[in-house]
Assembly symmetry: C2
Homo-oligomer: 395 residues x 2
């Protein structure tokens, strides 16, 4: 008696999430120290100390009904002002609190903006490989997802195919850089070209095409690589941000949308998004978390820990003969599988207690994603298992 | 360029929410002490002291990644176990953690269960007057809302009309007791009759009809009135609960769904709901709040404060000649307007700085809702304004 639309989900479910559960089951079975769970982007690095200190301070000092009460559906005004100011300081933008909508994580934010703009049949374009949940978010509003093929081996967006796949019905493009699952950061030149294509297509079709920048990994960039701030390159950019990774708060569901004044139909778009936040059932972003992140805007988790893992893993895997995309950001390694069927490869890896997510979950078979946001000791212990996996495919 | 479905929302928006903003504007204009804002159900009573104590203790004692990390999309297992046990102790039920899905408030929970069960065109029945957001939640999934006419003057459900309005396409009935906006508590006899009608109609149509009990006001009942626990009366009951009112945490967005084993198609229903929680973008209920409420299950805000307001206001309004529904629960007074047009009446009240929500927002014109979850001093100051309002209509 469940909804027909839900049947395929119940039968399929999320491979990543199923692995998360499977990892916990295997840990009980074989001992946690013998299971190498690289399945979920659940940060291993602790939040900065300031997060706890500020949460406790807020609880001790601010009147409880002010902490926990209702506020504007867009979020606390002073929090939104602080976020706007912080962005302006960092990126030279010119946002006010009327451009910042606090959301239940980036997942909440993406659903809010898609609800605000999508009519049934509207098309949303994304570059494979991409986070599989985008398919579900777009389907929530009866949108149609269009995937641009992966650009192997550098995994920068395939702009020639992108241009061909834009149509009069394209309402939005979702871009995610630093990228989940590849760890690739899209270069400034790529962004400029992509923006030029969008500008030209908007003119050609007489439509507005929103570029939705999903940015939970913005601060997770290594080797000093620049991550361009997209509102500066294209007026119709909406940014979806999350503190899940930058402050290691994924379970708290706290993030925001940036809806710039320059975006097409700004007034209606802002109002529609605030209303969508309410009627989708979020109502508002969790209030204590709003107040806490506003006091931690210049804080960041210690990404040197991820960086160490990144280097260790990249060195190990390439040494074993695995092909990896150049990992410049996020905390994912994107590895070519030793047999074409990535699900078979992941199943084989699981025999060595390695939990890796098949690339087909990201619309890109032939690869696996390794989330290296794990304890370094676990990573080092896992190397013997990777050796066995490599040896298996050498025989 | 916003979605067509959103245009009517942007033009209409929520009257209650607009009033919340208007109240803040008027407070700046006339001074907060001269504005009597009865528009929003934003608790005035503080959370119990244990809420703060436990939040601080959790932050001080539990490892941060355990507090703030991802968990099962249904919520922390130990939290769900604790909630199940607490319900079993209170109501003699037999729930386990597999029946408790932690949600982003009751609004999140209602959207999750509706996503799980509604196909486009499926009908959902509610008893007027009801919380206007139900219309939006049902529309999110292309369901069709059917309102049963108000039963004046006692505002118990109109069961004769209810029976007539159930069809083969009825997938769910939403019931809310203690009721927003009337403050009425549905009696045990009413529930038994309603359950019998549903049982009979399920047989007649060969369908499953889920009874969704929206219960944010469960603990706000006065004069020792009993609030029946609905899963005990009808197998296909889903409970949506929120800590917004019982612990005064509305901004934190924390609640749960109860999906009992006895519910039709339990296994698929549970899985669909957990997946819906994920793909709608909630992902999971805010994690610190989950841990906090699990430690405060036997706590409750001091409802004697609301009770005092209730008695003062009821006495005052009836003394002024206003007709009020018998207020047995929640923190709302439901008052017949002195002219048939409730919006005109509310506009008139606003001239005396009284912010009341027109009944038409609750599918029941000719009434206004007064949210008395306010400071007692403000309530007492407002009486002069109510006197002027009454005097205006006497002239």
């Amino acid at each position: 008696m469940i909804a027909k639309k839900m049947i395929k989900y119940v039968q399929g479910n999320s491979v990543t999430r199923a692995m998360f559960e499977e990892g916990k089951r295997m840990a009980r079975l074989y001992g946690a120290e013998n299971v190498y769970d690289f399945s979920l982007g659940n940060p291993s690095v602790e939040p900065p100390a300031a997060v706890k200190e500020n949460m406790v301070q807020i609880l001790q000092e601010v009147p409880p009904n002010q902490i926990h009460g209702y506020m504007n559906n867009a979020g606390h005004e002073e929090v939104r002002e602080a976020v706007a100011k912080s962005l302006n300081d960092k990126f030279g933008t010119d946002f006010t609190e009327q451009n910042i909508l606090m959301t239940v994580g980036a997942a909440g934010g993406l659903n809010v903006i898609l609800k605000a703009i999508l009519d049934p049949g509207d098309e949303v374009v994304a570059f494979a490989p991409y986070f599989g949940e985008y398919n579900n978010y777009v389907a929530n509003f009866d949108g149609v997802m269009t995937a641009v093929s992966p650009n192997i081996p550098d995994f920068q967006p395939n702009l020639a195919e992108f241009e061909e796949k834009l149509t009069k019905k394209t309402k939005a493009v979702i871009i995610n850089t630093p990228n989940n699952p590849t760890g690739v950061v899209y270069s400034k030149e790529t962004i400029q070209k992509l923006a030029a294509i969008l500008e030209q297509k908007q003119k050609e079709f007489g439509t507005a095409i929103y570029l939705i920048a999903d940015e939970p990994y913005r601060e997770l960039a290594y080797d000093g690589v620049e991550v361009p701030y997209l509102t500066k390159y294209y007026d119709n950019t909406i940014v979806g941000y999350s503190y899940s990774k930058s402050l290691s708060l994924p379970g708290e569901r706290i993030g925001y949308l940036v809806i710039p004044n320059e975006a097409d139909d700004y007034g209606n778009l802002w109002n529609a998004a605030v209303i969508a936040n309410r009627i989708l059932g979020f109502v508002n972003a969790p209030s204590l978390q709003q107040l806490a992140v506003a006091r931690c805007l210049e804080e960041a988790t210690d990404i040197s820990i991820y960086d160490t893992n990144r280097k260790l893993l990249y060195h190990k895997l390439t040494g074993l003969g695995f092909e990896c995309a150049k990992p410049e950001g996020a905390f994912y390694m994107w590895v070519k599988t030793k047999e074409p069927d990535d699900k078979a490869f992941a199943a084989r890896a699981k025999e060595f207690n390695l939990l890796l997510v098949p690339g087909s979950s990201f619309m890109c078979p032939g690869y696996v994603r390794i989330a290296y946001c794990v304890e370094k000791e676990m990573l080092l212990r896992s190397f013997a298992a990777f050796e066995k996996l490599a040896a298996y495919y050498k025989e």
